[in-house]
């Protein structure tokens, strides 16, 4: 937002005054998704400058939306946790996301891809349930990208924990997935499906894993909402 507040007694205006400043809703989405540490937040909101992030976090604390407390083990590092008021923003974020998914043209967003962000989101959403009960390693390759962002490894531990690596984790790879970033992003957003984009993906490795990919690949929380934009 710019200049001063709205100075209006309507609750919508009161909320907008706190929430409708640049990056705030996106940051809140990341907090609600569960990130609590500064650099995790940065990963989730990569285009936001650290100084603005720092500032927003302070503002949100002041607004009673989150608390900044030292991490117990590392007292010089802060941890950001939503207060009750912050948790209660979940329906607000969901309403935003739902509406955005339904009504905002996605072509322009698909011009602004970001492999780190996508993989970070995929890591978070990945659903280990359909996977066999052993360590599973999936390598994703985007041949069009420069080497530093080309290869990614998702490591799913037997207990369901998921790690994202940018260098080979040392374990055998169960499934190789090669595609372009745009296709993978479209799948993640629910604009297409693994089978719908079959001609743009090549697989190598465990056929069962490949067939079940749509089910274990975690999609955007809004992927199930179909586009309505004309």
């Amino acid at each position: 937002m710019s200049q001063t507040g709205y100075r209006q007694f309507c609750p919508v205006a009161m909320a907008a005054e706190v929430l409708c400043t640049r990056w705030t809703m996106v940051l809140l989405r990341e907090l609600i998704a569960g990130s609590t540490r500064f650099n995790d937040l940065r990963r989730g909101v990569p285009r936001m400058s650290p100084s603005l992030l720092s500032r927003r976090l302070r503002e949100l604390e002041e607004a009673g939306i989150l608390s900044r407390r030292p991490v117990p083990e590392q007292p010089e590092v802060l941890e950001y946790r939503l207060t009750e008021a912050g948790q209660d923003l979940r329906p607000v974020i969901e309403a935003f996301g739902l509406w955005g998914q339904k009504w905002v043209e996605s072509q322009p967003s698909l011009e602004n891809l970001d492999p780190s962000l996508l993989m970070w989101d995929m890591r978070r959403g990945l659903n280990p349930a359909p996977l066999p009960e052993r360590r599973i390693v999936v390598q994703v390759c985007y041949p069009e990208l420069p080497a530093s962002k080309r290869d990614w490894w998702l490591v799913v531990e037997p207990d369901g924990a998921v790690d994202l690596c940018q260098s080979h984790p040392g374990f055998d790879v169960d499934l190789y997935v090669t595609t372009d970033l745009r296709t993978m992003t479209a799948i993640w957003m629910g604009l297409t499906t693994v089978s719908g984009a079959a001609d743009k993906i090549t697989f190598d490795g465990d056929p069962a894993l490949r067939r079940s990919m749509q089910s274990w690949l975690g999609l955007s929380p809004f992927a199930s909402e179909r586009k309505r934009v004309p």
Copy 2:
């Protein structure tokens, strides 16, 4: 919002890019409440400059949220109607308002009172159902205000139509209500009630009307949500 967009493929960011610019949410609240004409919108969002209003309306049209069409009878005047995408913002606005009502301290907003806006909102919300089936005139007086904003008349026609006047409409007044603007605003927001603020209101006229006031006085759509802020 400032600068350029977020260039992020998350639906929350996509929605925020359209919705989180200054005044936009407040304007949308007014559109969803039913205003369709430029100057009605101005009344509902009085602190917004006309040029910004004009601009936002064009942006919202571009975003597919509303349509600008000439009024059938007055082809040189435009009428702003929400499209389906715009109607679908209702849950978003409601989520905002609900959260604002629950979690934003209202003291500061109560420093920024506005009789025109309040009366305009009251006119809109007034519930004619509990009133007798004849024309009812209620005069509201804020003695503390300058003459030009002191007296207001709500005229409820037998068919339920409500008019707001700033000069005596000529009909007999059924009920006089005298109070201060802050009290009336607090009632409208649900922070107190007519009987709870009885010591700050004086009545003259029809006792039945007075007793039923809480029921016919239209409150803010969010008035029923109780404050939770600590």
